[in-house]
Symmetry: C2
Subunit: 81 residues, 2 copies
DNA sequence: ATGCTATGTAGCATTAATGCAACATCTAGG
DNA sequence: CCTAGATGTTGCATTAATGCTACATAGCAT
């Protein structure tokens, strides 16, 4: 089909993907490859322009050796790990 | 828009929603109300006709006093709790 | 039997998540 | 300076997730 203007849903999910990814020295492309998604998708998630599906969240957590609950939250994360 | 025939995605997520819900003596309608979704949505999830968004998974886990990882998995659950 | 509750099934509308492509920008190296 | 890599931005197509409505069925009451 055509149209729609997604980007920026009403229900954001906070995440620490960028920190966790940087801690492992991975580029977005690297993480995208490990996870099996487009590298832009990682970017959108890090910028919190939309929230992932549960499957994607689980796969990303696995790629980063983290628990889903450590990486994603409905409430903002505190600064620092 | 129109059309589409969702139901039954390519990537299922296994879950224990039904068991956890029953353990608390809640009907689907009860859980749907607590979670803020349509009661049919709970049914689709229990029958694994599609997998939830991350936000919904988190909210459901919270409604059932469970961890996301205890309730959802990319691999099938063993029988019994 | 009648009725009520829980559940399954089917369709359709709307919106979000994802892929992908084409750019722009910025920075680190050579 | 030039180039390459990483990241941000915009647009559009496709598909999944969700809401909602309606109806069927099965069980359990009264």
């Amino acid at each position: 089909m055509l149209l729609t203007m997604s980007r920026n849903p009403e229900e954001p999910v906070y995440n620490r993907i960028e920190e966790a990814r940087a801690a492992l020295g991975l580029s977005r492309q690297d993480l995208a490859d490990k996870t099996g998604v487009h590298y832009q998708t990682i970017g959108y998630l890090e910028r919190e322009e939309y929230s992932p599906s549960l499957v994607l969240a689980i796969r990303i957590a696995k790629s980063l050796n983290q628990e889903v609950s450590e990486l994603f939250s409905l409430t903002p994360f505190k600064k620092g790990k």
